[in-house]
Amino acid sequence: MTTPPRDSKRSTRDKAAAARAAADSVQRRRDNRIRIFGGLAILVVVALIVGLGVWGSKQGDTTPGGIVTDAKVPTGVNANTGDYAWAVPAAKPAAAGAPTLSIWEDFQCPSCAALETGNGPAILKLATDGKVNLVWRPTTFLDPRFLTGANPKSSHRATMAWGCAIDAGKADEYHSVIFAHQPATEGDGWSDQELLDYGTEAGITGAAFVTFSACYDAATYDQWVTNSYQTFIDQAVPGTPAAFLNGTEVPPATLLDTAALEKLIADATGK
């Protein structure tokens, strides 16, 4: 029970400092070990999670099966022809030098319906006036989001029905009718019967309706729709509606503004 003499206080402090330094170095080594092994463990865990995610996403793969180049296309619709493959020309070819306006749409996309009910007639008029080559490009990228709804694959089925309506000479009419009947809730879609009824509403009657109905029931344009959707993916189209004038994306505000769009088209004419 001796108290350390006063003069030894300094050496005690030195010893304590040395002990602390040693402890520090032990701690540093321990910290490093925790970092290295912890870091490695996390790498393994993350790799496992990513691997599982990749595997899981492959199980529920919703990508289309790829393009079948000799797929049957509706009357007047582009086949496998380069930049505008599988697209639907909206009107007769425009005057020489007129630019090409291509519009990607999904029948279930609310913004597309807004565009069609808003500026759609004006855009179609530009085409029928011969000022622009208008081509519609169908995609069905919204279908994978509504796999469990009342009417699954509505975008795909509506586009197939549109193909049959194009054969009946009612491309513009059927296109407008579907957008006019877009359900208030995105993804609710349309039943087969509704899609056939829209044919009547678009002016397909009598014998033409029988052909239209048979064409739809036989899923005649199934592969054409898939091809167009695959093209949408391959070209990395940034959603819908996406409009391109001679390949350059048209800003959304311009697309919705008749005067601005006319000016853009006029500026691009003859170039």
Partner: protein, 176 residues
């Protein structure tokens, strides 16, 4: 310390969730990245995997509290990137789904202002949480501080072993 722990675990959960949802639904993630119209199409496939993998990795680091400061810094930068991305599509007039927690591509015009502003507000909040952790990275229940905890308890043991007698350590003597 406890505030930091809570923030760390919240951020970790958010990153895990957003990363895993994107991994499980890679087409949605890819569509969302394309919809931002920021990256050239050739980058999109790589980013579709790299972004969620990065989110999961940051989430894992924050969960166990390893390299907390670095992970929080990366999280803050990621959030700032999202803020820039969302602002830029908003300014350019596009109406897209941020794809933050899966989904992706375009959505309707309805509620666009509310959607974008709430997404931005949320990302600013997450950025703030990450910045807090960059400033004060020491938190409870973290591997970063595990070494220190072990050393402290060991050195206390050592002290006890050395002082077989009941003499108080002179260094710990209260100075009069």
């Amino acid at each position: 310390m406890w505030v930091g722990t809570v923030l760390r675990l919240i951020l970790s959960g958010i990153l895990f969730w957003s990363g895993i949802v994107k991994l499980v639904e890679p087409h949605g993630a890819r569509e969302a990245i394309i919809a931002y119209r920021v990256f050239p199409p050739s980058w999109v496939d790589l980013l579709g995997w790299a972004l969620p993998a990065g989110e999961v990795a940051l989430g894992a680091l924050l969960l166990v509290g390893l390299f907390t400061r670095l992970a929080a810094l990366c999280t803050a930068l990621l959030m700032v990137g999202f803020i820039i991305g969302i602002s830029s599509v908003w300014i350019r007039g596009y109406s897209i789904d941020c794809g933050c927690f899966g989904g992706g591509g375009d959505v309707g015009e309805a509620g666009k202002t509310w959607r974008y502003s709430s997404e931005l507000l949320r990302d600013f909040l997450f950025t703030g949480m990450a910045v807090y952790l960059v400033s004060w990275p020491r938190t409870r229940w973290a591997l970063d501080s595990l070494g220190a905890t072990m050393s402290t308890s060991n050195s206390l043991d050592d002290d006890d072993d050395n002082n077989d007698d009941d003499t108080p350590n002179p260094l710990e003597e209260p100075t009069p």
